[in-house]
């Protein structure tokens, strides 16, 4: 049977090309990290010292854990985005600080309480987006407002809470091979995400609903259930980050998590997951998180204040959108 000739050669060429492009964000991010470290070292000797890099990695791990959840929601497509992560981080830090109240014995109950609270608000986000068909941007922004109000109320009633010594040690002191526990935790989350996305049916389905929700539905994918799960996971990752943040700073205060909303999105996009979803992964996001933290550190080194840093971050996101943001115009 002579079917229409299908040139497998050109097919391979296309694939090789698109694979190279798909890898590019990771390569670019790693290249930029090296460049920034080198620049930082020139500006301020000691910037790229081992101790300093380790400190940067701890900060990057906090951001990276939040970005893991953000990454999942964005991969799921349909304008998926979670603007409430900052509120969850703050809430989780306050809950954890109050439950453990400086005692090691309180760590396990604190973790449980935070995960429970996180999954509750994530569930609300998921239900709002799927069953009530509220756009994720609006739903999670509304949720952020609710959480901020809630934090004000909580703070008037209870003390800010303190981290247990073991938690602080876990976050900032070396526990194994000279690396602090939080870095191992982050690597573990990296492996978990890779496994989830590449070796489970759940992962296949995330990509499926992210690239063609209707076709996925027609092929039997439980679209709503998956999307709800993504929002729950996002809030749970944010809750974990909140606990670690408490360990990092010692005590919790309101709005401590606010600073994570925008960077968590930038890290995902920098890592090669377009805001339209359906492709990309977490490895690039991890590199994106490190890159952002290094960038932030450089800005601090050259005495650019908080408002300046915000401007740089916002402009970075817009530039990223321009280069390889929504959809795949560049790749087409």
């Amino acid at each position: 049977m002579s079917a229409a000739p299908q040139t497998s050669a050109s097919g391979t060429g296309q694939f090789a090309q698109s694979a190279a492009v798909a890898k590019r964000p990771l390569v670019i991010a790693l290249g930029l990290i090296a460049l920034l470290l080198f620049t930082g070292e020139q500006l301020s000797p000691g910037f790229a010292s081992l101790d300093q890099i380790l400190r940067l990695l701890i900060v990057a791990a906090l951001l990276g854990i939040v970005a893991a959840g953000q990454n999942l929601v964005i991969l799921g497509g349909r304008e998926g985005i979670d603007l409430s992560v900052g509120g969850i981080v703050s809430l989780s830090a306050i809950i954890a600080g109050n439950v453990m109240a400086g005692e090691n014995g309180g760590i396990v109950p604190a973790i449980l309480a935070c995960l429970l609270a996180g999954s509750f608000f994530g569930l609300l986000n998921g239900i709002g987006v799927t069953l009530l068909r509220i756009p994720p941007l609006v739903m999670t922004l509304g949720m952020l407002g609710v959480l901020q109000g809630l934090l004000v109320v909580i703070r008037q009633g209870i003390p800010s809470g303190r981290a247990a010594p073991a938690l602080s040690e876990f976050v900032s002191q070396p526990v194994f091979l000279g690396l602090p526990g939080i870095i191992w935790l982050w690597l573990g989350i990296g492996l978990l995400m890779a496994f989830l996305l590449r070796r489970t049916v759940f992962g296949y389905r995330i990509y499926a609903i992210g690239s063609n929700e209707h076709a996925a539905y027609m092929a039997g994918v439980p679209v709503r259930l998956i999307r709800i799960a993504l929002f729950v996971l996002s809030s749970m990752f944010a809750a974990v980050a909140g606990i670690c943040l408490l360990g990092y700073s010692g005590s919790s205060f309101a709005n401590v998590g606010e600073q994570y909303m925008l960077p968590s999105i930038i890290a995902v996009v920098f890592g090669g997951t377009p805001l339209s979803g359906g492709k990309g992964g977490y490895t690039g996001t991890m590199a994106g998180a490190v890159l952002l933290v290094v960038l932030q550190s450089i800005l601090t080194t050259i005495n650019i204040d908080e408002s300046g840093r915000q401007i740089v971050f916002g402009a970075t996101l817009l530039l990223l959108m321009l280069f390889y943001g929504r959809g795949a115009r560049m790749r087409g």
Binding site: Q6, Y207, A208, N212, A215, M218
Partner: protein, 522 residues
């Protein structure tokens, strides 16, 4: 004198010739019917007059002068008013604004003069005033109206163009009897004024009711123009089919040549006796839903049951209802003697249904993802395992893809790197890993090249031979005639006729499809 003349008009989309030799001669003061089967080229002809499609060649003469219709604006300026089959209304604007849209009265150079818009609109609403039904008013938002009311607004809008040439492409599909009658009265009045009207409809009763002359298009060629008074329904259908020598151009196009499919019944012999002996795989009783009513039929194991008829007569709607994407209002669906509730595709898959849509881009292909991920989702539903082990998935995907002779280099290539035909093979391969009891095919070869079509139908017959029950809707009549054991002809959301054995001819199919369907009384 002829108002509008089209001569030797041609249009091809790549290798597909939509119009090979289109011709039309429209006189002043006549209603000229244009008829042809699905894909015969009549819509392309209309689009060329409307300016939305540029012809590859040929001439268009208006009042004897050659004209170039460069776009919709140009056709409007030339005095051609067009009723679009796909409604062109602004859903969030009022009835009055939509009707007067072509010459929207403007106040102070900027604002719409609502009062004058209403006055203009009232003139065109008036003839239909007693048939528009409840909820219709000049100030109603078009989006809030029923389908028949929206169609009436589209008609009024076309009439409001006051163009000397009016083209109506299936203007009556949603209307009830009284509304059609009123519309025809308007057409007769306009004809009396000397307007030239092109009328496209699939309803023979309407054609013979309103038409003065009829032009038949077949396979992209104008084959005949006759006066309605001198012809009859059988003759028109015969011209569409291409079997009547008196009416037709030399019969170069028998069905086989038209599609490349063999036309004889799958096993050559009449099968009806054998079929009824086989167990019933699917029993549908009195199924009613959006777009179809009171549909009943049974499908046996190993049988290919065709759904025929014109586009949009309920065939796809029934298939989607069986697959759980469209809701049904009443009726029962029984699989292998057991009543089943299908509320979602996921549920339908577990019950034993499979579904392949011809609209790959919307319903089938998970674009941008690897071939492997496009083959597996149905298996995931059935296996209920949480882990996806690539090596094991490859083992399952490769035989399914090879059975379809899918051409690919590796399973990790994105599906978008394949040709359209190969993409559809990947989508079909989903159903070859864990085979469904009943496979629903919703115009599965739409937009696919000829050799792939032939391959796919060979596979479909093979699956049936192995015992799978198959429901096949195809917009290409030759595919149905060449592959289905029985054909149910749909007309107006109901089964109007069943064709079996030797009765499966193109003539019978057209006759059942084009005969008057029951129309709701208002």
């Amino acid at each position: 004198m002829s108002k509008l003349v089209l001569r030797d008009v041609r249009k091809a989309y790549g290798a597909t010739v939509a119009l090979a030799n289109g011709a039309l001669e429209l006189a002043e003061g006549e209603v000229h019917v244009l008829i042809g089967s699905n894909g015969s080229g009549k819509s392309t002809l209309c689009k060329i007059v409307a300016g939305s499609v540029r012809p590859d060649g040929g001439e268009v003469l208006l009042d004897g002068q050659p004209v170039t219709v460069s776009g919709p604006q140009a056709s409007h300026a030339l005095g051609i008013g067009i009723f679009y089959q796909e409604l062109s209304l602004a859903a969030h604007r009022t009835v009055a604004e939509n009707i007067s849209l072509a010459r929207l009265p403007v106040k102070g150079g900027l604002f719409v003069d609502r009062q004058r818009a209403r006055t203009i609109a009232a003139r065109y609403i008036a003839p239909f005033a007693d048939v528009v039904g409840a909820g219709f008013s000049p100030d109603a938002e078009v989006g809030s109206l029923r389908a028949d009311q929206r169609q009436l607004v589209e008609i009024m809008k076309t009439l409001a163009s006051e163009a000397p040439v009016l083209i109506f492409d299936e203007p009556t599909s949603a209307l009830d009897r009284a509304q059609v009658d009123r519309f025809f009265e308007e057409l007769r009045r306009l004809r009396g004024e000397g307007r030239s009207i092109v009328f496209i409809s699939h309803r023979m009763d309407e054609i013979f009711n309103i038409g003065d002359r009829v032009t038949v298009i077949r396979d992209g060629r104008t084959v005949a123009t006759k006066t309605i008074a001198e012809t009859n329904q059988a003759e028109v259908i015969a011209a569409m089919v291409g079997e009547n020598r008196e009416f037709a151009i030399p019969a170069t196009s028998d069905e086989g040549a038209a599609t490349g499919n063999e036309l004889q019944a799958p096993d050559g012999a009449p099968q009806s006796e054998g079929e009824s002996a086989r167990p019933v795989a699917l029993q549908v009783e009195n199924l009613t839903g959006s777009g179809f009513a009171d549909v009943s039929f049974s499908l046996h194991e190993g049988e290919i049951l065709g759904f025929g008829g014109l586009h949009g007569q309920g065939q796809s709607a029934v298939l989607r209802a069986l697959y759980g994407t469209d809701t049904t209002l009443s009726g029962t669906i029984s699989l292998a003697g057991r009543q089943s509730e299908v509320s979602s595709p996921r549920r339908a898959i577990r019950e034993g249904f499979g579904y392949v849509s011809g609209d790959r881009g919307r319903d089938g292909v998970i674009s941008g993802r690897p071939i492997l991920e496009n083959v597996m989702p149905v298996h995931f539903v059935k296996s209920r395992r949480p882990l996806a082990v690539p090596s094991r998935l490859n083992e399952q995907a490769i035989p399914a893809l090879s059975a379809l002779r899918t051409k690919f280099a590796t399973l990790m290539h994105p599906i978008s790197s394949l040709s359209g035909g190969n993409q559809q093979k990947v989508v079909i391969a989903r159903w070859l890993i864990d085979r469904p009891r009943v496979l629903l095919l919703d115009d599965p070869t739409k937009g696919i090249d000829l050799s792939t079509k032939t391959e796919l139908f060979a596979l479909i017959r093979e699956l049936a031979a192995e015992g799978m029950a198959i429901l096949l809707y195809s917009s290409e009549d030759a595919e149905l005639l060449g592959n289905a054991d029985r054909i149910l002809v749909f007309n107006g959301g109901a089964i109007s006729r069943e064709l079996q054995g030797a009765a499966r001819t193109r003539f019978n199919l057209y006759e059942a499809a084009y005969s008057a369907a029951e129309r709701a009384a208002s």
